[in-house]
């Protein structure tokens, strides 16, 4: 069987400003920050049994903007996790941080409470773009943030970049990649700008004040990204994630390999191998429920077929590929179904069997991972209906 590793995700639902493209769950009002922390602390203790005593290898503060919280709040949450769970000694503890929150002082504090990995939301080094997206920081802040973090002794740093959006030329894009490469950080995540429903960006496009991201451009800039980072010694281990050898995000990798995780905070998702559950995405309702001792969540039990589909979907996105062992556990019929369905894509040279013995998508086809995944999905036939 598998070494059971598990992770904890802590969702901090506050941001200083709303980025125009973002549809994560957050609020720009910090007024109920204290109540929120209390509620989250309570949720942690209520969920102490969720991961069935598995060792916790990773803790991830995401959001929202966790770096916008006072450090003592982060510390409280971490302590509560450690009290209720078996956290291993060298656990990966990541904090998402926006450049404008990164100072000598904050870095020192984070280090003290045990944060050992930073995920910095750089996005771009063009002030005009940052303003267009309503980011809370400048390009200069982005550059100095990385340097400060390194000086403070954070070696394990990742930064985010956005491509494929209107206004980002190929020259801009090349120089953004180059800057991160030059800064010598060991991990980069990069996302195509997407238009999510109910965002300012979606509204602007509808009104015609912003143009739609162009898939052609996104594809082209993605190819630049892949080539540049390969050249710089990064390994692409997922559609949007690149790392120097050994520096992958353990936490994120767990999502794609079917490991169990517990999500704390409004909108956070949890997975225990057979069911998925997600907390309500509403700060006030979340707090109210926890004040009365209840966790407000919805839950879905995964059928074997759904588990299969998820393994295919996430597996295709990673260099590890579709985990053959896990598929086998679901049953022989799934293995043989996959084998017969995937042949077409293998014949087309899009999918290969990798060193681990798994089917994996060639990086050149990552941009079509969703379509191929849905091709391979198993959908149960609709039940026979009777005419009576």
């Amino acid at each position: 069987m598998f070494a059971l590793v598990a992770g904890i995700y802590i969702h901090i639902p506050f941001c200083r400003k709303a980025c125009y493209y973002c549809n994560f769950h957050f609020s720009t009002s910090f007024q109920i920050r204290e109540e929120m922390i209390q509620a989250m602390l309570k949720e942690i203790s209520l969920q102490a049994a969720y991961l069935k005593n598995q060792s916790i290898e990773t803790i991830y503060f995401g959001g929202g903007t966790p770096s916008a919280l006072p450090t003592e709040n982060l510390q409280q949450l971490l302590e509560e996790v450690k009290t209720n769970f078996k956290v291993i000694g060298d656990a990966e503890v990541t904090l998402e941080a926006n450049p404008d929150d990164i100072t000598v002082e904050s870095l020192k504090q984070w280090k003290e409470i045990g944060i050992n990995r930073l995920s910095i939301g750089i996005q771009a080094f063009q002030d005009e773009l940052l303003t267009n997206w309503n980011r809370s920081h400048s390009s200069a802040q982005g550059l100095s943030a990385i340097a400060l973090a390194q000086e403070a002794g954070f070696g394990n740093i990742t930064a985010d970049l956005i491509y494929g959006g209107p206004g980002l030329t190929d020259e801009d894009w090349l120089s953004n990649i180059q800057r991160l490469v030059d800064s010598d950080i060991p991990h980069i995540s990069s996302y195509a700008l997407t238009v999510e429903p109910n965002t300012v960006l979606a509204h602007q496009i509808k009104k015609g004040t912003s143009s739609e991201p162009d898939d052609e451009l996104a594809n082209h800039q993605y190819e630049i990204l892949q080539a540049k980072l390969k050249e710089a010694g990064f390994i692409q281990y997922e559609v949007s994630n690149f790392a120097k050898p050994g520096m992958e995000s353990k936490h994120n990798k767990n999502y794609w390999t079917g490991a169990h995780y517990l999500g704390i905070g409004p909108s956070a998702h949890s997975f225990d191998g057979v069911s998925r559950q997600w907390n309500i995405a509403n700060n006030v309702k979340y707090i109210k429920a926890l004040e009365s001792g209840e966790i407000p969540f919805e839950k879905e039990e995964l059928t074997k077929t759904q588990q299969f589909n998820e393994l295919v979907m996430t597996g295709l996105r990673t260099s590890m590929g579709i985990d053959a062992q896990r598929i086998a556990i679901l049953g022989e019929s799934y293995t043989s179904y996959l084998k017969s369905e995937i042949q077409y894509h293998m014949d087309q040279g899009k999918i290969v069997i990798n060193a681990e013995g798994n089917y994996s998508l060639k990086p050149a086809y990552y941009f079509f991972a969703d379509g191929i995944a849905s091709d391979l999905f198993f959908v149960e036939a609709a039940p026979e209906t009777d005419l009576s």
Binding site: Y9, S190, Y191, A192, T194, D215, E216, A218, N219, Y222, V239, S240, N252, Y255, W256, Y261, G263, S267, A268, H269, S270, F271, R276, W278, E300, Q306, N309, E310, M313, T314, R317, Y366, F367, F368, A369, D370, G371, A373, S374, D375, F377, V379, A382, E384, T385, D386, L387, S388
Partner: protein
Amino acid sequence: MKNFRNFCVIAHIDHGKSTLSDRLLEITKTVSMRDMKAQTLDNMDIERERGITIKSHAIQLYYTRPNGEVFTLNLIDTPGHVDFSYEVSRSIAACEGALLLVDATQGIQAQTISNLYLAIEHNLEIIPVLNKIDMPNAMVEEVTDQIIDLVGIPKSDIILASGKTGEGVDKILEAIVEFIPPPKGDPAAPLQALIFDSVFNSFRGVIAYYRIFNGTIKKGEKVRFVNTGNEYHADEVGVLQMSQVPKNELSAGNVGYIITGIKESKEIKVGDTITVAAHPCKEAIKGFEDVKPMVFAGLYPIQNEDFEDLRDSLEKLQLNDASLVYEPETSIALGFGFRCGFLGMLHLEIIQERLSREFNQEVITTVPNVSYRAYTKRTGLMVINTPNDLPDPTMVDYIEEPYIHAQVITKPEYIGAIMTLALEKRGNLTHQHYLTTTRVELSFDLPLAEIVFDFYDRLKSISRGYASFDYAPKDYRKSDLVKLDILLNGEPVDALSSLVHREKADAFGRKICAKLKELIPKQQFVIAIQAAIGAKVIARETISAMRKDVTAKCYGGDITRKRKLLEKQKEGKKKMRQIGNVDVPQKTFFEVLKLD
């Protein structure tokens, strides 16, 4: 028998037949208040969702007169839409009378007239009902006058009613008993029962609905179907109430069902006569005229191997829809399928939906067309039901297309707009007749091909709903037609070919290419769409290649949502058909003609 009454409810679409039937069921306590819902008789899902009646529905009621006398009433609720008028005509054959409903807010409409004449031709006693009088905009006086003019009866014979409030329903029941004659016939004579409808039930086999004209049908007896000559054991006979109620026997004048254990749909035919094998009747009752389909389209299974299943489903569906006709055909693009005839586009849509819902058969429908006649130099007349049957132009002497005679009833202020539309559709006005000062009837001769596709919707919109429309086939006329082919990446797709009038070919070709561009999803390569007449390309569009389908982020919170999205996408893909190397969604062929 003197206490039996058989009648149907007929009207223009939406004039309230099914709602008034509800009140009749209610007042006679045929349905308990608890089981009552709006349009109870519309029991098919499609009927309930669309709010229209598609099938005639027969049901038996017991009515107790104020004097205590009890009557058995067989009611048949019929559809109003022109595509289903064959249902009306078969129902009429089982009845002695008809309630003719007229919506007091709408007045006489095109199908009010056509259904009335159907009933009169069959010597039915007509009871006119002015319905929906509860509505504030009811035009009681005006519509009463229209009815007097049309039916030629005294004002006092028109019943004012509301299917909503139940007002007048007691009077309707009394009129049914008073005016509709009891059925004639001799219960002791040899059995003659006319099958007017049937349905396939997966547990019980074929169930036939009939009206007995003479004789008695008994459970357990051996019966013979006169036209097919087949004999069966009457396993169960009974009457149609909210459910089927078994009886030991039914006699002349009654309406009922029979189950004989027939599993093969082919063995039974609507319009056949049932008799008793031991004392057969001398002759069959005159059945129904075969319906003439108005529109033809190919139906193909999405997976080739489902062809036999599709045949089986069509057979079963035909039992319940005697107006459906089909024969096998092949298409280069789609493989083996059936060329089917329909009474109109709504009928086509309903068949497609019923195949999916009732038989789990997803089908691809080719571009619909009407039936043409080609006169060739060598072989003479050829009937062309699919564009691919059209011989090479050099072989053809001339082609004829079907024309219809259409009646449009409208308000005088819309005459201009309707004439313009008719002209655009290559029609000509043959007659104009004022029914009253505010209602005018326009008659046109129009090519059938021009009206089956979007005429009705256009008519409704230009007249703001104040125009109704009815038509009947008239004749065939010479026409300058060309075959328009569609090519995907250079490959002609026969299922998308159509026959069009030469003058309209360019515009039509451009529209069809644009519409295909909308309907076919981007794929990993560029797709060229071309419309061509012979070797000459007259329109083209390009679908650019898909360059990305993945979303960049997929962390813990995204997985469920994304899986569901892709599962849905997969369902959609199962409904695509590969033509050449292009994936074409199921609905494309049918939707492509919805041009505006």
